[in-house]
């Protein structure tokens, strides 16, 4: 397995693609989100697995996003996601609201290759009332129970940040198995990693339960500290100060632009509008 560059990975995600991203507690590739901003991506349809965090807010702020399907957009202890909130109010993005287990269920249906799966709850929620693609049926098993059916969700691209890849292109995500469900469900899987190591995780009984087989992985790029400011398992913690600083700066468009120039472009040439 030969890693590609981060910029080549970002270039391979076409404008308008549906792009599934895990949130801040679940191995987001903030490095790839920044590379997408640098390449000037447009019209992305982001999918929160099952919610959305920092990476989603910066992509929205940079104008890369047309739509978000998610159960929440939040910066955790740093509060509301400022660019998401502003873009929604200004009508620059659409949101398709969901609830966490609905996102998982739709991905699991895609993972199994079935057209839909049932999920309890939901009935009586206005989320359901605004989702014409979700249907309520009476259980065919004669119990009289009303239950919602949700369609399979197959993202065009899934992207996350793993701890490491091996020589065979397997990636290791520890206990964050939602990344495995996501990988199984998506058409393409792009993974940034801290490092590439010799060997094969699938040959190692201790590592294989946290591994995702290369069968599902299209490409790997090395991005050291690629989840930051989000945490990465036991490798590094959540940088609360950085996110609080971002939340303050990104209250205004100008503040966000300044933050981006410093933390995304980092002196590099700004992509053409």
């Amino acid at each position: 397995m030969t890693p590609i560059s981060l910029e080549a990975m970002a270039a391979s995600i076409p404008d308008g693609a549906s792009l599934a991203l895990p949130p801040d507690n679940s191995l987001p590739s903030v490095a790839l989100a920044k590379a997408l901003i640098r390449r000037g991506a447009k019209g992305l349809r982001l999918i929160g697995v099952p919610i959305s965090g920092f990476a989603t807010d910066i992509l929205i702020g940079a104008g890369c996003v047309a739509e978000v399907e998610t159960s929440a957009v939040t910066l955790g202890e740093a509060g509301f996601a400022p660019r998401f909130t502003a873009a929604l109010k200004e009508g620059r993005i659409r949101i398709r609201d969901a609830t966490c287990p609905a996102m998982h269920t739709m991905l699991q249906a895609a993972e199994k290759g079935v057209p839909f799966m049932p999920l309890r709850g939901l009935i009586g929620s206005d989320i359901l009332a605004h989702r014409p693609d979700w249907k309520v049926v009476e259980s065919p098993f004669g119990t009289g129970e009303k239950i919602a059916l949700l369609p399979a969700l197959q993202p065009d691209v899934a992207a996350f940040h793993a701890v490491m890849a091996d020589s065979a292109g397997n990636v290791w995500v520890g206990r964050r198995r939602e990344c495995a469900t996501l990988a199984h469900a998506s058409r393409r899987v792009l993974v940034t990693v801290e490092r590439v190591v010799e060997g094969n995780f699938l040959e190692d009984e201790r590592l294989c339960p946290g591994a995702i087989s290369a069968t599902y992985v299209e490409a790997v790029a090395i991005a050291e500290r690629g989840a930051q400011p989000a945490a990465l398992l036991d490798e590094y913690g959540f940088d609360t100060a950085h996110v609080l600083d971002y939340a303050r700066a990104a209250r205004t468009e100008a503040g966000f632009a300044e933050w981006c120039a410093r933390h995304v472009f980092d002196g590099r040439a700004v992509a053409a509008e």
Binding site: T99, P101, R120, E145, C179
Partner: protein, 245 residues
């Protein structure tokens, strides 16, 4: 002397003990409920605590869907939810106000509420801000309903609503709250003035008991130790403690 957060944590801990509780799950951004659960654990209650946002030693090894799968099966006795708006029928709004999807004020979103509220054995609602803009007669949008129609599977309801001013108990059979206790400095009248929904008052309403010295010592010591990694801002603000770098 104690901080308002410490009173709320000990109040929630007492509500946890009111019913048999084997397993509690705590979701996003819930430092006070998490402190209440840790207080019960540190006082020796034999309960299992699954913290969704715990970075090291996270209890879920099958991914973040495992919480919902467990709860769907009935293995979670108690969960916590809040809301940008909560109404008198215990409907929760985490979407926002104004036209859908929250064009006046947008809240972060519904998280797992549209499932967890039905499927957990019971739910303690928690919202520190107690004002007419939060506790409304009718929520603008329902993320998760307080009660469900017949034919919809529902395992549990709200047990209580804890705010910065009082404790309400919820009665699902009549879909109404009653006032259970008022925090120091509050009265039935002051609570009514700050509450947008009608609620029942049955007899004399007691004052919410203050934390004991033993509870405060645990909160500031052993409980804070457990919470530093997940809630560093909260621990710094309430307990004056910072995580080691």
């Amino acid at each position: 002397m104690f901080k308002p957060e410490e009173l709320l944590a000990t109040t929630i801990a007492r509500l946890i003990r009111e019913a048999p509780t084997r397993h509690i799950a705590v979701g996003a951004a819930s430092p006070i409920p998490a402190a209440a659960c840790w207080l019960c654990v540190k006082q020796g209650d034999p309960l299992r605590l699954s913290l969704l946002h715990k970075r090291t030693g996270n209890p879920f090894t099958e991914g973040s869907r495992e919480l919902f799968d467990l709860t769907g099966q009935g293995r979670v006795d108690l969960f916590f939810l809040g809301g940008g708006e909560i109404d008198g029928q215990a409907n929760l709004n985490l979407i926002g106000t104004g036209e859908w999807p929250g064009m006046a004020v947008r809240f972060p979103g519904s998280f797992g509420s549209a499932f967890m509220y039905y499927m957990a054995g019971r739910t303690i609602l928690f919202r520190e801000e107690h004002s007419p803009r939060v506790l409304v007669e009718r929520v603008a949008h329902i993320s998760a309903p307080g009660v469900s129609e017949p034919g919809v599977f529902r395992r549990g309801h709200a047990q209580a609503l804890v705010t910065g001013r009082c404790v309400f108990r919820f009665h699902p059979e009549r879909a109404r709250f009653s006032l259970a206790s008022v925090h120091p400095g509050e009265s039935v009248e002051s609570v009514r003035a700050m509450t947008g929904f009608a609620f029942d008052v049955e007899g004399e309403v007691p004052e919410t008991p203050a934390p004991t010295e033993a509870e405060l010592a645990l909160l500031r010591g052993a409980v804070c130790d457990e919470m530093l990694e997940t809630y560093p801002e909260f621990c710094a603000r309430v307990f004056g403690r910072k995580a080691a770098a």
